[in-house]
């Protein structure tokens, strides 16, 4: 490209001049890379070819139902359920994390047991369990426990709607995961920060709020972003209790029209759009919380590289 001091670089070939002798430097041949690239290219070409030519995809039906009223209603429910379960899960998670780190043995054991139970049983099972709560407690009352008088009482079946069952099943499960994320974030902050906070005479809660939690956010935010993206997809579990969310809404259509694949594609495309938007939002939030960090001002990937990287890596990660 440029010629200076007898040293030149062209694409792949460098020429180094030592006095009169010129030595050509040829990069090593990477045969494996070429073979790998060829295999992947062929596979990709086949994927595109069959997407275009296989009539069973029925792209016309996909576009026909893409903005259908029933689908959009389901989409709204999916968004609402995701937002509410994440807010509930985050609040519960902070509470459980602080209980666990409090040093009070009763609090620690209570928090640990909660996390053990709700992280150790599948969200789907919990969801079905809450939906069938009436079998265990036909009536729910507010009053003095252990046989005292009740001030208020209602039928469990009327109270635990599909939406409430989904909120309980997914929200409690999420709370257990968020508790571990928040706890990990707090513990990831250097112990020297706590020394500095105490030596300056800050109160414990001042140090937590002003110094420790803002730094813990650096690891809490990316993990919470992953959880939110995961939750968006996990809300589809609520279709099992007939909650009218995105998956259930396409199911109600294909149960009548038998266009199963096109309608599942409708749902998938919507899920992809939503997870992509969430990933972009997450990058913005992370930039805000990485203030003062090395590399926050100049990531070598550049703006678009970071966005693409974030979308590609975050779209697929989720706990079991």
């Amino acid at each position: 490209m440029t010629q200076q001091d007898g040293k030149s670089t062209t694409l792949g070939v460098a020429v180094i001049a030592h006095g009169e002798d010129e030595i050509r430097v040829v990069p090593r041949r990477m045969v494996g890379r070429w073979i790998g690239a060829a295999v992947v290219s062929i596979a990709a070409a086949w994927v595109i070819y069959q997407l275009v030519t296989n009539p069973a995809y029925d792209w016309g039906t996909v576009w026909h139902y893409f903005l259908d009223g029933t689908v959009l209603q389901g989409l709204w429910m999916t968004l609402l359920l995701t937002a509410l379960t994440m807010v509930a899960g985050a609040l519960l998670g902070v509470l459980l994390a602080i209980m666990r780190l409090s040093g009070n043995p009763v609090m620690t054991v209570a928090s640990t047991t909660f996390i053990w139970f709700f992280r150790g049983t599948p969200a789907l099972v919990q969801l079905i369990f809450w939906f069938n709560l009436a079998t265990l407690f036909p009536q729910i009352s507010l009053g003095i426990p252990f046989g005292g008088p009740a001030f208020w009482s209602a039928s469990t079946n009327a109270l635990v709607t599909p939406f409430i069952a989904a909120m309980l099943g997914l929200g409690l499960n999420e709370g257990a995961y968020m508790a571990e994320i928040v706890r990990g974030g707090i513990l990831s902050v250097d112990r020297g920060q706590d020394d500095a906070v105490r030596a300056l005479g800050l109160r414990p809660w001042q140090g937590m709020r002003r110094i420790v939690l803002p730094q813990a956010m650096r690891s809490i935010i990316p993990a919470t972003g992953n959880q939110t993206i995961g939750m968006l997809k996990y809300t589809s579990l609520a279709s099992i209790v007939a909650l009218h969310e995105l998956l259930y809404s396409v199911q109600t259509i294909y149960n009548v029209t038998f266009q199963t694949i096109p309608l599942l594609i409708v749902a998938s495309v919507w899920y992809l759009i939503l997870t992509t938007v969430l990933s972009l939002a997450q990058v913005k939030v992370e930039q805000h919380f990485s203030r003062g960090e090395r590399g926050s001002a100049s990531d070598t990937r550049g703006r678009w590289g970071r966005l693409i990287h974030a979308v590609v890596t975050r779209g697929s990660v989720r706990h079991a």
């Binding site: 020297g192 020394d195 030596a199 005479g201 800050l202 109160r203 414990p204 001042q206 803002p214 730094q215």
Partner: protein
């Protein structure tokens, strides 16, 4: 000891004992520091110097012994025959009178230099934003970093970070400054700038306790040098005495090793 007895002692530590698990780190250490005195603590690693320093502002809780600063008992109050641990509020009040500088600086990485300095005065002492910012700029000028006010700690060299940490501690107007190996994490060429600031503080009459391996600094600036080994004070006196003609064999062999280094 003889040198100190002429002053009313400002900081007084009596027979301090502290164990971590089965390891006894302080085995009955006493220390007196007069107002305006600079005391350097020397000794091999693991001798209990840092623990002693951390006990003085109650970052570590003592097993036994007591510490008074300006006649005020640190961490406890006396109720008849018992010592009762003071409230968190009172403890924070006491700690705000004692500045501390750490080996690893421990600046707040998510705040810029000025925010680092004004955080504690604003939260603990309720100083107004404007007053605390003005004071921060004065302190930064004093440590030679006036132009770094808006930088984040990551953008500063180790020596600069440590000078900001000193300014942060001074912003609380402490009666006593504790330095825990303030130059040990620095590249050799950055040690001088931090020692210069500390020397200036000493000249201004700040009472200082410095854990250090910088013999030249101790010789030049310290009023008292305390040599510790294995959880005990082995020897104390003026720098010429302890560093020039040590009486104890352990002091001699330690000095021989460090001077060669």
């Amino acid at each position: 000891m003889h040198e100190n007895s002429r002053h009313a002692s400002f900081l007084e530590a009596r027979d301090l004992r502290k164990s971590f698990g089965s390891l006894e780190v302080l085995k009955g250490v006493s220390l007196e520091v007069a107002r305006g005195e600079v005391a350097c603590l020397l000794g091999p690693s693991g001798s209990g110097k840092s623990t002693l320093l951390r006990c003085i502002n109650h970052l570590e809780v003592l097993d036994s012994g007591r510490i008074t600063l300006d006649s005020e008992l640190i961490g406890y109050e006396k109720h008849g025959e018992v010592l009762r641990e003071i409230s968190v509020r009172q403890l924070c009040q006491q700690r705000s009178m004692i500045g501390m500088v750490f080996q690893n600086f421990n600046l707040f990485p998510h705040m810029n230099v000025v925010e680092n300095i004004i955080e504690a005065p604003r939260l603990v002492k309720g100083v107004s934003r404007q007053d605390s910012v003005d004071r921060a700029h004065e302190l930064l000028a004093m440590v030679g970093l006036a132009e770094k006010a808006d930088n984040y700690p990551r953008q500063l060299s180790g020596g600069q970070q440590q000078r900001v940490a000193i300014a942060r501690a001074l912003a609380m107007e402490p009666k006593l400054m504790l330095f825990d190996e303030p130059t040990s994490a620095l590249d050799p060429e950055l040690v001088g700038e931090v020692l210069t600031v500390m020397r200036m503080l000493a000249e201004q009459g700040m009472t200082m306790i410095v854990v250090t391996h910088e013999m030249a600094f101790a010789r030049e600036v310290a009023d008292t040098v305390v040599f510790m080994d294995d959880g005990l004070v082995v020897e104390r006196g003026g720098p010429d005495e302890v560093l020039g003609s040590p009486r104890h064999e352990r002091t001699r062999s330690f000095l021989a090793r460090t001077v060669r280094r």
